[in-house]
Amino acid sequence: MSPLARSKTDSVPQPASTPPELIRNFCIIAHIDHGKSTLADRMLQETGVVEQRLMRAQYLDRMDIERERGITIKSQAVRMPWAVDGTTHILNMIDTPGHVDFTYEVSRSLAACEGAVLLVDAAQGIEAQTLANLYLAMENDLVIIPVLNKIDLPAAQPEKYAEELAGLIGCDPAEVLQVSGKTGAGVPELLDRIVELVPHPVGDADAPARAMIFDSVYDTYRGVVTYVRVVDGGLSPREKIAMMSTKATHELLEIGVISPEPVPSQGLGVGEVGYLITGVKDVRQSKVGDTVTGAGRMATKALGGYHDPRPMVFSGLYPIDGSDYPLLRDALDKLKLNDAALVYEPETSAALGFGFRVGFLGMLHLEIVRERLERESGLDLISTLPNVEYEVRLDDGTVVEVTNPSEFPSGRIASITEPVVRSTILAPSEYIGAIMELCQTRRGTLKGMDYLSPERVEMRYTLPLAEIVFDFFDALKSRTKGYASFDYEPDGSQEADLVKVDILLQGDTVDAFSAIVHRDKAYAYGVQMATKLKELIPRQQFEVPVQAAIGARVIARETIRAIRKDVLAKCYGGDISRKRKLLEKQKEGKKRMKMVGSVEVPQEAFIAALSQDGGAAEKAKK
């Protein structure tokens, strides 16, 4: 019932010699801003593993981007002692990524646990993303402990949302715990409840070692740090280990637990959670979901559930300054060490120069990768419109995989298939109409609808992935005043009537603007791009037609009229320095111009035209 005093730490079970009966492995399932990190920090404090004065807000989220966005990309596992009725138990808190792009990582983290804390903001209720992860947790047979957080908020409605949670997981509203990560209220009770309800791990201590990798992180100083949950047997220092998917063997340089800093240990036993360091430099050699075994005494059967991450969204990434291409290549190579899901290959665009076609797990993954590249390597990047992977079947039976509109075949097309997703939208019921309308324009099919409470509804849609990679979430938010939440998972593919729309400047195709869109939307896309480019491209000495075309058929046309005047009329003594400096600046600007045929296009125009928010177009004009 209490944190352990420092003087009594010798009574705490040590790694490699902790009876499984005293171990509780759990995770926290929560929506982005529902206070998971604050609660986790508070648990570290209550259990005494972090002293108050050393407490850094959101201890567990390490990367800057995570900190800024309030989301967790990489999970970690912290070992915390907690005594109940005079017996010290070991709680392993496994932090899970909270976003749908990382569903696979989430599923592996969940597989390392026996229980999950379902944490919901008492002022907001459950969100679609949380619901998705809750389903995953229930599929993994985890014991769910429902908790309402932020009960200290004036806007908290604990009774209402306790009702909602109870209805969802089939418990009594009275069983829903109420806590405040901010004030610490209810946190000791929650820790007690975890010890009470989460089943202890069960495994065969005498069997060959089997440990599941649930995370793998690249550290500049240590190389890859691999997080594992031991299922059977045990791992000990300086032992040789093997990866079951590749049969590759590695020397174990260090083994230990996180509490909350890495602490080397005498090993890890059944049910324990900790880290391994083998000296490998690439997270691909230590893949999430893989099974670690002893090289001397190998297990015969891997733990289930492993698969390679598969990119769903593709985009071209180009350095704004063409001479930064080698920097971008190095930055991607470096990032790859820490991101097993990142795939890329060199690509050339007539408009944008040399870059890479990069595959991502989803839109958030794209944004994070882009931000990390820009931030950590000081690069300015343009990303092309994201697209999905299409399968194009030609009349002659050839099948072409298209991840870039430029690969779209020009021959006679028999059929095209596109990936679809199964999505869940949670929203106040007053927005049902607006959501239906949006999903209809995005070619969605309504699969079902349930009321979570009289005011909240869950809508299930099948949607083409291509329709949500662009700006779906923004559109959803704006139509529901920000109240809707959204989640999706891949759900196979479907045939669709798709065409490639090209954008031409004075007759020359600008490859960066080509897009594969549904035939019904080709005209709208063409008009939108032509209008945008007319706004963005400065007038030239000659008239420049901007056209959108499907094959040879022009579907939209705008004209950039020829410029007639560019000079300032006045240039007297006091104007000369200013004018010369302006000229010098313009000369620099010229270097950032890209030639499309004989048309000079400023880099900013490409960026603005490719950007998804309307504001960028305005900015580029200034």
């Binding site: 005047k565 560019d566 000079v567 009329a569 240039c571 003594g573 006091g574 320095s577």
Partner: protein
């Protein structure tokens, strides 16, 4: 003179110039610009360094300004002396509204230039003037003080255009002022502005025709520029007035060139037309040819032998500096060869006399062919070794300059 300064290097407190700048001065021409930073009211479009007397506060004193300006003329004499400068061949008094000062005060300034720097016998001595302030008596006094030329801020004859510009003069006074100036034996130039929000092509045409009917010796026509920080810019930003449009200004420029040419005025610089070579503003031509001039007054710019500097802006700070015996220069820049070349191309390609092609780099000389082909540069002139912009080239002078400065 725009009131925003370019960034520059610190200027020495005594105003001394590097020997390289003074070298060969004797063989060049020297001009003097005198800036009078006062106006009765500030016009909404104006970003020049000028102040209304209430703005300057209770201790504002045109007398203090005058003393400081006279002191700066003497500073110029001391700084330039080692270069053995020629007497000034042009003087231009601008503002502000120079005629806020009495002709005698302007005469005192001119006298100090004559005494300190010298003035050639044929010197062109211009003052800008508000049409309302130029009576026959003022014109005669200006002539008596040694002025040879008056540039009148006419801007437009259309009342709603003048109102938008905050110009308070009575259009009818322009005719009276022209007559007074001419009667005093002085040359007269009219300044016009086109592209004011709300000005139609017809409005502009009537301004041009009225200007021509007054038979001035010289006409300047400027496209209105909405400068940051002016009241006009705020009105445009708030959507109260439409922003000037390039196409509209191009139409109006072409109209101006047509009307003025038909009346016997020939363009000699992008925005300037004169009845004959003798009526060109020699002071301004010297700017474009890269000549030397000393700018006296708050915020005034100067150029001597590849060194450009500019004075502190505020009249009080300006007077304080000179009272302490210091140079009023705020900052300066010493141009390197590349910058001087850029300026030569930038300025001389604005002129009807043209930019000699032998001043251009080899790739730029090749680029001239492309400019001729695109109709931006006059072909026959190019063959004779001069880059002279065509009408289209004058409107696209920035493009011309960029192509003459490749790389």
């Amino acid at each position: 003179m725009p009131s925003t300064f370019p960034p520059g290097d610190p200027a020495p407190p005594d105003g001394a110039l590097p020997a390289t700048a003074l070298e060969g001065m004797a063989a060049r021409t020297l001009g003097v610009y005198l800036h009078v930073p006062f106006c009765r009211v500030r016009c909404g479009y104006c970003d020049f360094n000028t102040y209304t007397l209430p703005e300057l506060g209770a201790d504002a004193d045109t007398g203090r300004y005058l003393g400081a300006a006279l002191a700066e003329v003497e500073l110029a004499g001391r700084v330039l002396a080692p270069g053995d400068p020629p007497p000034a061949s042009t003087v231009f008094v601008g503002g502000g509204t120079p005629t806020m000062l009495a002709p005698a005060a302007l005469g005192a300034l001119l006298g100090r230039v004559r005494d300190t720097l010298g003035l050639t016998d044929e010197a062109e001595v211009t003052t800008e003037a508000n049409p309302d302030t130029v009576t026959p008596r003022v014109a005669e006094e200006l002539a008596a003080q040694g002025f040879t030329r008056v540039s009148l801020g006419m801007q437009s004859v259309v009342p709603h255009v003048l109102r938008t510009l905050d110009r308070t003069h009575d259009p009818a006074n322009v005719e009276r002022a022209v007559a007074a100036v001419r009667a005093a034996g002085l040359q007269v130039s009219l300044d016009l502005i086109y592209g004011t929000p709300g000005e139609s092509l017809e409005d502009w045409q009537s301004s041009l025709e009225t200007a021509v009917s007054l038979e001035p010796d010289h006409v300047s026509a400027y496209a209105l520029v909405v400068e940051e920080g002016t009241r006009l810019a705020a009105q445009v930003r708030r959507g109260e007035l439409p922003a000037p449009e390039d196409d509209d200004e191009a139409d109006k420029y072409e109209l101006a060139d047509r009307v003025l040419a038909a009346a016997g005025y020939h363009w000699y610089e992008i925005s300037n037309w004169a009845r004959g070579d003798a009526h060109r503003c020699r002071h301004n031509v010297a700017y474009w040819r890269g000549g030397d001039w000393w700018g006296v007054g708050p915020g005034a710019h100067s150029h001597v032998g590849g060194v450009r500097w500019w004075n502190v802006k505020h009249p009080q700070a300006y007077a304080d500096r000179l009272a302490e015996g210091l140079s009023p220069a705020h900052a300066r820049e010493v141009l390197d060869d590349g910058q001087r070349h850029d300026e030569t191309v930038l300025l001389r390609s604005r002129l009807a006399e043209g930019l000699p092609t032998d001043l251009l780099s080899a790739p730029a000389r090749t680029a001239v062919a492309g400019l001729v082909a695109d109709g931006l540069v006059d072909g026959p002139a190019a063959v004779r070794g001069r880059v002279v912009p065509t009408l289209r080239g004058r409107l696209l002078a920035d493009t011309v300059v960029h192509r003459l400065l490749p790389g």
